[in-house]
C-alpha cells in the first residue's frame, strides 16, 4: 500500500506566455507508515505535488497511484481518494465555516455519507486527537478560538475523514513557538498511535529533521535529493547552494568540525549535538 508518483510532469498555463513547468519528471514512492518530509524553496513545486496526490490537480504527464488506484482515471473514485489522502492546506483555519466546532469537524464525515453515530464518533475522536476536551469544545464557535486552536480544529476536520495518508502543508506557518511545538507533538503522536502515513511539507529544516524518517528535496520541479535526514543534512553545502538552509544545530556542528573539533558529521538534533560536544570535551580533558 503506497502512494506512487510516476514520471510526473505538470505545466501551468500551457499555451500562454505565462507557461511554467512546475514539476518535471518526478518519481516518488511513499510507503504505508512512512513519515516523510518534503522540503523545497517557494516555487519548487511542493504544493503542486501534494495537490496531485489527492486529485485536486491532474498532472500533465505521468500518473499518481494511491493504493494502486490511478488518480483521476475514474471521477467517481475521486471522493474515495480524497478520503484516503487527507490534505491539510496552509493556514487551514481559513476554511472553517460552521457555527460550532463539532459541526465543522463533522463536515468531512458527512460528505462521506456516513451514519450519524459514526459521524459523532469520528468527530469526537478527531477533536481528542488534536488535544481538545470534546465536551468543552464541541459547542464553541470556531471563530471564538485562538489562531492555534482554530488550526487544530481544521486539522481535526481532515482527521475525521480517517485518511490513510495525511499531508500537511506548512502546518505551523504563522504560529508562535509554543503553538508550533504543540502541533508537531500532536502530529508525532498521531503517527505513532494510528500508523497513518504522514507527509509533512515545510521549508523549515529544523522541524523536519526532528520528526521524519525520510526527506525529499524538491528543487525547480525535480526531486533533487532523497534519503534519511542524516544523509540529506550531510550534504549541507548542496542544500545551501539550492537556497535551503540546514538545521542551525547541524550548522554549528559543521563549524566546530571545521575548526578542528572531533564531532561526527551527521548531527541533526540538539540532543545529539550535546552528546557529541560533551564527548569531545571529555576527550580533550583526558589528553
Amino acid at each position: 500500500m503506497s502512494i506512487k508518483a510516476e514520471n510526473i510532469k505538470y505545466v501551468y498555463s500551457e499555451g500562454t506566455p505565462f507557461r511554467t513547468l512546475a514539476l518535471d519528471d518526478v518519481n516518488l514512492s511513499i510507503e504505508q507508515g512512512d513519515f516523510i518530509g518534503i522540503i523545497g524553496h517557494t516555487g519548487s513545486g511542493k504544493s503542486t505535488l501534494i495537490q496531485l496526490f489527492n486529485g485536486l490537480e491532474m498532472s500533465t504527464e505521468g500518473k499518481i497511484l494511491v493504493d494502486d488506484i490511478v488518480v483521476g482515471q475514474d471521477k467517481k473514485k475521486l471522493r474515495n481518494i480524497r478520503q484516503m489522502v487527507g490534505l491539510v492546506f496552509q493556514y487551514p483555519e481559513y476554511q472553517l465555516f460552521e457555527e460550532t466546532v463539532a459541526k465543522d469537524v463533522a463536515f468531512g464525515p458527512m460528505n462521506l455519507k456516513l451514519n450519524q453515530e459514526e459521524i459523532d464518533k469520528r468527530t469526537k475522536e478527531a477533536l481528542e486527537l488534536v488535544g481538545f476536551n470534546y465536551d468543552r469544545i464541541k459547542d464553541v464557535s470556531p471563530f471564538d478560538l485562538s489562531g492555534g486552536q482554530k488550526r487544530r480544529v481544521a486539522i481535526a476536520g481532515v482527521l475525521a475523514m480517517k485518511p490513510k495518508y495525511l499531508i500537511l502543508d506548512e502546518p505551523t506557518a504563522g504560529l508562535d513557538p509554543a503553538g508550533r511545538n504543540e502541533i508537531f507533538e500532536q502530529i508525532k503522536k498521531l503517527h505513532k498511535i494510528s500508523n497513518v502515513t504522514v507527509i509533512l511539507v515545510s521549508h523549515s529544516m529544523e522541524d523536519i529533521a526532528k520528526l521524519v524518517n525520510k526527506v525529499v528535496v524538491l528543487y525547480k520541479g525535480k526531486v533533487h535529493m532523497q534519503g534519511t535526514p542524516k544523509e540529506i543534512y550531510a550534504q549541507s553545502e548542496e542544500l545551501v547552494r539550492i537556497g535551503l538552509g540546514i538545521p542551525q544545530i547541524a550548522e554549528l556542528a559543521n563549524e566546530l568540525r571545521k575548526r578542528g573539533f572531533n564531532i561526527k558529521s551527521d548531527v541533526i538534533t540538539v540532543d545529539e549535538a550535546k552528546e557529541e560536544i560533551l564527548k569531545e570535551i571529555r576527550r580533550r580533558k583526558n589528553v
Binding site: R82, F89, P92, Y94, Q95, F107, G108, N111, F143, G157
Partner: protein, 265 residues
Amino acid sequence: MFKNLTIGQHYPVESPVHNLDPRVKIIITFIFIFSLFLIKSFTAYLVVVAFLAVAIITSKVPIKFVLKGLKPIFLIITITFIINLLMTPGKIIYEIGFIKITEEGLKQAGFMAIRLTLLIMGTSLLTLTTSPIILTDGIESLLKPFKRIGVPAHELAMMMTIALRFIPTLMEETEKIMKAQKSRGADFESGNIVNRAKNLVPLLVPLFISAFRRADDLAMAMEARCYRGGDNRTRMRQLKIHRGDYVAAFIFVIYLATIIISRIW
C-alpha cells in the same frame, strides 16, 4: 473555472492604444456604445467592424483575448437572440406549432446579437488596454467637474481601485478555499440547483470572513499612512493629452460622422 474572465484583465503590452490618455479612451468607448444604438442597417455595422478592427490591430492585443470577453455573456446573447426571433410580429417565413419565425424577427435578432457582441468587444478593449489603476484615474478625473454638485469623485475612484485590486486576490482565495473543502469531500459540481446553492455555504462563509479581514487590514494600513480622503492629494502620474490622443479622437470623429450620415440616409 475562473480562468476565462477578461473583464478587468489588463493585457500588458506597449501599443499606441495602450498609451492613450484614459479619459480619451473612456469617452470614446462611451460614445461608441451610444453609436451602436444609432445603427439601423447591416452595412453600417461594417463601419463599426472596420473601426474595431483598426483599434484591435493597433492595440496589439491578440483577437483571442478580445473574444474571450464574450464567453461569460454568450448565454445572454443567445437568449436575446431567441426572444427577439420569436417575439417580433411580422411576415411569417417559418412556422412549426406555436413557434413562428418572422422576417422582422430574424432581422431584429441578428441586429441585437451583433450589437451586443460589438458592444462587449469594444468595452473589453478598453479594459484590456488600460490598467485598472489608470482607468480609475481617468474616471476620477472625468468626474471631478461633478464634485460641485456633490459627487464624491475621489472616493468613488478609490473604491473602484480597491475593488478591482481585490478581484484577483479574492478569486485566488476562492480557489484555495474550494480546494480545501473539496479535500474534505465537498462537491461543488453536481446535484440540482438547490443542493448546489447549499453546497456553496462552506465556500462563501470563509470567503466573506476573509474579505472582511482584508478590508480591516487595508483600512488600518491606509490610515497608518495618513490617508484622509481626496482633498489636497497629489498624484504620481499626471494625466496629459498627447498627440496620439488627438489622432485617436480624429479617427473616432470620422467614424462617428460616418455612422450618423448612414443613419440620416
